[in-house]
Protein backbone atom coordinates (compact mmCIF):
# COMPACT_ATOMS: atom_id res chain seq x y z
CA UNK A 1 0.00 0.00 0.00
CA UNK A 2 1.28 3.42 -0.86
CA UNK A 3 -0.09 6.91 -1.32
CA UNK A 4 1.66 9.91 -2.82
CA UNK A 5 0.45 13.47 -3.18
CA UNK A 6 2.63 15.58 -5.41
CA UNK A 7 2.79 18.62 -7.62
CA UNK A 8 4.88 16.85 -10.26
CA UNK A 9 3.50 14.70 -13.10
CA UNK A 10 3.73 10.90 -12.82
CA UNK A 11 4.63 8.16 -15.27
CA UNK A 12 1.99 5.43 -15.04
CA UNK A 13 4.09 2.91 -16.99
CA UNK A 14 7.12 3.45 -14.80
CA UNK A 15 5.02 3.11 -11.63
CA UNK A 16 3.53 -0.22 -12.75
CA UNK A 17 6.95 -1.48 -13.77
CA UNK A 18 8.39 -0.52 -10.37
CA UNK A 19 5.50 -2.18 -8.49
CA UNK A 20 5.73 -5.46 -10.41
CA UNK A 21 9.47 -5.76 -10.98
CA UNK A 22 10.90 -9.01 -9.61
CA UNK A 23 7.51 -10.33 -8.49
CA UNK A 24 6.25 -13.72 -9.60
CA UNK A 25 3.01 -13.79 -7.59
CA UNK A 26 1.23 -10.96 -9.41
CA UNK A 27 -1.04 -12.06 -12.24
CA UNK A 28 -2.91 -8.81 -12.78
CA UNK A 29 -1.95 -5.15 -12.68
CA UNK A 30 -4.82 -2.73 -13.28
CA UNK A 31 -4.25 1.00 -13.56
CA UNK A 32 -6.52 4.00 -13.92
CA UNK A 33 -5.24 7.43 -14.92
CA UNK A 34 -7.53 10.47 -14.60
CA UNK A 35 -6.68 13.36 -16.92
CA UNK A 36 -7.57 17.04 -17.00
CA UNK A 37 -10.11 17.67 -19.80
CA UNK A 38 -10.52 20.94 -21.76
CA UNK A 39 -14.25 20.28 -21.63
CA UNK A 40 -14.40 20.82 -17.88
CA UNK A 41 -17.29 20.69 -15.41
CA UNK A 42 -17.79 24.47 -15.66
CA UNK A 43 -17.35 24.85 -19.44
CA UNK A 44 -14.27 25.06 -21.62
CA UNK A 45 -11.28 25.49 -19.38
CA UNK A 46 -7.70 26.66 -19.90
CA UNK A 47 -6.38 25.31 -16.59
CA UNK A 48 -7.42 24.18 -13.15
CA UNK A 49 -6.09 24.63 -9.64
CA UNK A 50 -6.31 21.56 -7.42
CA UNK A 51 -6.39 22.44 -3.71
CA UNK A 52 -5.94 19.77 -1.05
CA UNK A 53 -5.90 19.39 2.72
CA UNK A 54 -2.29 18.38 3.45
CA UNK A 55 -2.11 15.56 5.96
CA UNK A 56 -5.77 14.62 5.78
CA UNK A 57 -5.53 13.90 2.04
CA UNK A 58 -2.77 11.32 2.59
CA UNK A 59 -4.53 9.83 5.63
CA UNK A 60 -7.89 9.59 3.89
CA UNK A 61 -6.36 7.90 0.83
CA UNK A 62 -4.60 5.42 3.13
CA UNK A 63 -7.93 4.68 4.86
CA UNK A 64 -9.61 4.07 1.50
CA UNK A 65 -6.70 1.92 0.37
CA UNK A 66 -6.84 -0.16 3.58
CA UNK A 67 -10.56 -0.70 2.98
CA UNK A 68 -9.83 -1.99 -0.54
CA UNK A 69 -7.24 -4.39 0.87
CA UNK A 70 -9.79 -5.63 3.41
CA UNK A 71 -12.34 -6.30 0.64
CA UNK A 72 -10.17 -7.84 -2.08
CA UNK A 73 -7.11 -10.13 -2.07
CA UNK A 74 -4.73 -7.45 -3.33
CA UNK A 75 -1.00 -8.01 -3.65
CA UNK A 76 -0.20 -4.31 -3.82
CA UNK A 77 -1.62 -0.89 -4.60
CA UNK A 78 -0.62 2.68 -5.27
CA UNK A 79 -2.53 5.95 -5.35
CA UNK A 80 -0.87 9.09 -6.73
CA UNK A 81 -2.83 12.36 -6.68
CA UNK A 82 -1.52 15.68 -7.94
CA UNK A 83 -2.23 19.15 -6.63
CA UNK A 84 -1.46 22.62 -7.89
CA UNK A 85 -1.99 24.03 -11.36
CA UNK A 86 -2.90 21.61 -14.16
CA UNK A 87 -3.74 22.18 -17.80
CA UNK A 88 -5.89 20.06 -20.14
CA UNK A 89 -4.08 16.87 -21.03
CA UNK A 90 -2.22 16.68 -17.72
CA UNK A 91 -2.57 13.53 -15.61
CA UNK A 92 -4.33 14.20 -12.27
CA UNK A 93 -4.67 10.87 -10.50
CA UNK A 94 -3.24 7.35 -10.77
CA UNK A 95 -4.60 4.21 -9.14
CA UNK A 96 -2.75 0.90 -9.53
CA UNK A 97 -3.92 -2.39 -8.04
CA UNK A 98 -2.17 -5.76 -8.13
CA UNK A 99 -3.70 -9.18 -7.58
CA UNK A 100 -3.23 -12.81 -8.59
CA UNK A 101 -6.37 -12.79 -10.75
CA UNK A 102 -7.80 -9.86 -12.69
CA UNK A 103 -11.23 -9.48 -11.10
CA UNK A 104 -9.95 -8.34 -7.72
CA UNK A 105 -7.61 -5.78 -9.28
CA UNK A 106 -10.33 -4.43 -11.61
CA UNK A 107 -12.95 -4.12 -8.88
CA UNK A 108 -10.57 -2.66 -6.30
CA UNK A 109 -9.34 0.01 -8.74
CA UNK A 110 -12.95 0.97 -9.47
CA UNK A 111 -13.77 1.06 -5.76
CA UNK A 112 -10.71 3.20 -4.97
CA UNK A 113 -11.66 5.78 -7.59
CA UNK A 114 -15.30 5.93 -6.48
CA UNK A 115 -14.33 6.51 -2.85
CA UNK A 116 -11.46 8.83 -3.66
CA UNK A 117 -13.72 11.18 -5.61
CA UNK A 118 -16.17 11.64 -2.76
CA UNK A 119 -14.02 11.42 0.36
CA UNK A 120 -10.44 12.49 -0.37
CA UNK A 121 -10.10 16.20 0.47
CA UNK A 122 -9.30 17.70 -2.93
CA UNK A 123 -11.13 20.56 -4.66
CA UNK A 124 -10.94 21.70 -8.27
CA UNK A 125 -11.18 25.32 -9.34
CA UNK A 126 -11.39 25.67 -13.11
CA UNK A 127 -10.26 28.64 -15.19
CA UNK A 128 -13.00 29.32 -17.74
CA UNK A 129 -14.18 32.43 -19.63
CA UNK A 130 -15.75 33.79 -16.43
CA UNK A 131 -12.50 33.49 -14.44
CA UNK A 132 -12.00 30.93 -11.67
CA UNK A 133 -14.96 28.73 -10.79
CA UNK A 134 -15.14 25.99 -8.16
CA UNK A 135 -16.37 22.65 -9.47
CA UNK A 136 -19.56 21.45 -7.76
CA UNK A 137 -19.73 17.90 -6.44
CA UNK A 138 -21.89 15.57 -8.54
CA UNK A 139 -24.68 13.42 -7.17
CA UNK A 140 -23.64 10.75 -9.69
CA UNK A 141 -20.30 10.45 -7.86
CA UNK A 142 -22.13 9.82 -4.57
CA UNK A 143 -24.21 7.21 -6.39
CA UNK A 144 -21.08 5.53 -7.76
CA UNK A 145 -19.67 5.34 -4.23
CA UNK A 146 -22.88 4.14 -2.60
CA UNK A 147 -23.23 1.11 -4.89
CA UNK A 148 -20.28 -0.43 -2.99
CA UNK A 149 -22.22 -0.39 0.26
CA UNK A 150 -25.06 -2.47 -1.14
CA UNK A 151 -22.82 -4.95 -2.93
CA UNK A 152 -20.40 -7.24 -1.12
CA UNK A 153 -16.87 -6.79 -2.42
Amino acid sequence: MAVRIQREPFDAGAEIERLTRGRTDVGAAVSFTGLCRADGETGTISAMELEHFPGMAEEELLRIEAEAHARWPLLGSLIVHRHGRLVPGDPIVLVVTLSAHRQAAFEAANFLMDYLKTSAPFWKKEDNVHGGEWVAAKASDDGARDRWTTKSG
Binding site: G34, E41, L50, E51, H52, F53, G55, M56, E59, E60, H81, I92, V93, M113, L116, K117, T118, S119, A120, P121, F122, W123, K124, K125, W134, V135, A136, A137
Partner: protein, 83 residues
Amino acid sequence: MKIRYFAWVRERVGRGEEEIALPETVKTVADVVAFLKTQGAEYETAFENEKIVRAALDRVHVKSDTPLANAGEIAFFPPMTGG
Protein backbone atom coordinates in the same frame (compact mmCIF):
# COMPACT_ATOMS: atom_id res chain seq x y z
CA MET B 1 -9.27 25.68 18.90
CA LYS B 2 -7.56 25.68 15.53
CA ILE B 3 -10.06 26.13 12.71
CA ARG B 4 -9.10 25.51 9.09
CA TYR B 5 -10.97 26.32 5.89
CA PHE B 6 -10.56 25.01 2.36
CA ALA B 7 -11.69 25.87 -1.18
CA TRP B 8 -14.66 28.26 -1.37
CA VAL B 9 -15.23 28.11 2.38
CA ARG B 10 -11.68 29.47 2.78
CA GLU B 11 -12.28 32.17 0.18
CA ARG B 12 -15.52 33.31 1.82
CA VAL B 13 -14.06 33.38 5.33
CA GLY B 14 -11.02 35.16 3.93
CA ARG B 15 -8.32 33.03 5.59
CA GLY B 16 -7.04 29.49 5.60
CA GLU B 17 -6.86 29.00 9.35
CA GLU B 18 -7.23 30.73 12.66
CA GLU B 19 -7.20 30.07 16.38
CA ILE B 20 -10.51 30.80 18.09
CA ALA B 21 -11.38 30.45 21.78
CA LEU B 22 -14.76 28.73 21.72
CA PRO B 23 -17.24 29.27 24.55
CA GLU B 24 -17.86 26.30 26.87
CA THR B 25 -21.36 25.94 25.45
CA VAL B 26 -19.92 24.90 22.08
CA LYS B 27 -19.96 21.09 22.25
CA THR B 28 -20.49 19.78 18.71
CA VAL B 29 -19.47 20.52 15.13
CA ALA B 30 -22.87 22.16 14.53
CA ASP B 31 -22.32 24.33 17.61
CA VAL B 32 -19.04 25.59 16.12
CA VAL B 33 -20.85 26.58 12.92
CA ALA B 34 -23.62 28.32 14.87
CA PHE B 35 -21.02 30.19 16.94
CA LEU B 36 -18.97 31.26 13.90
CA LYS B 37 -22.10 32.62 12.22
CA THR B 38 -22.38 35.14 15.07
CA GLN B 39 -18.81 36.34 14.49
CA GLY B 40 -19.18 38.30 11.27
CA ALA B 41 -20.60 38.59 7.79
CA GLU B 42 -17.80 36.49 6.25
CA TYR B 43 -18.86 33.49 8.35
CA GLU B 44 -22.54 34.03 7.57
CA THR B 45 -21.64 33.94 3.86
CA ALA B 46 -19.39 30.88 4.19
CA PHE B 47 -22.02 28.94 6.14
CA GLU B 48 -25.17 30.38 4.55
CA ASN B 49 -25.97 26.93 3.20
CA GLU B 50 -24.46 25.08 6.13
CA LYS B 51 -25.83 21.65 5.24
CA ILE B 52 -23.48 21.65 2.22
CA VAL B 53 -20.34 22.39 4.23
CA ARG B 54 -18.43 19.31 5.41
CA ALA B 55 -16.28 19.03 8.51
CA ALA B 56 -13.30 17.05 9.75
CA LEU B 57 -12.11 16.73 13.35
CA ASP B 58 -8.39 16.10 13.63
CA ARG B 59 -8.36 15.22 9.91
CA VAL B 60 -11.20 12.66 10.00
CA HIS B 61 -14.60 13.25 8.34
CA VAL B 62 -17.39 13.83 10.88
CA LYS B 63 -21.09 14.62 10.86
CA SER B 64 -22.49 17.86 12.26
CA ASP B 65 -23.77 16.27 15.50
CA THR B 66 -20.32 14.87 16.39
CA PRO B 67 -19.03 16.06 19.80
CA LEU B 68 -15.75 17.98 19.69
CA ALA B 69 -14.46 15.90 22.65
CA ASN B 70 -10.72 16.56 22.86
CA ALA B 71 -10.11 17.36 19.21
CA GLY B 72 -7.37 19.91 18.60
CA GLU B 73 -8.42 21.00 15.15
CA ILE B 74 -11.60 21.35 13.12
CA ALA B 75 -11.73 21.91 9.35
CA PHE B 76 -14.59 23.08 7.15
CA PHE B 77 -14.76 22.56 3.39
CA PRO B 78 -17.16 22.00 0.47
CA PRO B 79 -18.00 18.53 -0.87
CA MET B 80 -14.88 17.08 -2.43
CA THR B 81 -14.17 17.19 -6.16
CA GLY B 82 -10.84 15.43 -6.61
CA GLY B 83 -9.96 12.47 -8.81
